[in-house]
Symmetry: C2
């Protein structure tokens, strides 16, 4: 278990924060690409509001998903790895037990 | 005054409906163009959510503005003319008194 902030060393916190930001930026970049594609294909008001619906959904989803509380970080990172926004290499430098717990949780997502 | 539906003849209603649709399509087209421009210039998550905010605002604004109840049509059309989404020519065929009332209301908007 990784229950709280105290279990993360200063250097691990730095790595975790960077990995988290990188994942967020990757996901936002993918959303941007989809928005550009949808915007280019927009022909009428229905398409336009569909684009708005897509962005509303993605904003809500990312707001909920990107939660940096240490009490939930294991599950957040596991989901990000499972979804491909975070890479295992991004977490290089955190303790082996934390990494294993994250990867095990990611496998749990894969099995859902 | 143009208080209700009964004062609009069948042919006037057809003209009004077409002018209304044309205005809505023009405004949506302008929003689409702005969205394409913003999407092309989007560099980070801040830009992305700003684009979402813009679309949210425009959707709310158009939802409120495009109101086809005959009791408010004079003011709706006046605003659309003032804002440039509706053209006077679009209303060719409706009675002179209705047109004058709409144009006078549009001038009222211009004076605000």
């Amino acid at each position: 278990m990784i229950p709280n902030e105290k279990e993360w060393s200063k250097s691990e916190k730095k790595i975790a924060r960077q990995a988290y930001k990188a994942a967020y930026n990757r996901e936002c970049k993918a959303i941007m690409e989809e928005v550009r594609k949808m915007a280019a294909e927009t022909r009428d008001s229905t398409d336009l509001w569909r684009l708005h619906d897509y962005l509303t959904e993605k904003r809500k989803e990312t707001d909920e998903k990107y939660d940096y509380r240490y009490s939930v970080l294991r599950f957040v990172f596991a989901r990000l790895i499972y979804e491909g926004w975070m890479h295992q290499e991004d977490l290089e430098g955190i303790s082996e037990d934390k990494l294993q717990e994250i990867l095990e949780s990611a496998e749990f997502y894969a099995g859902l």
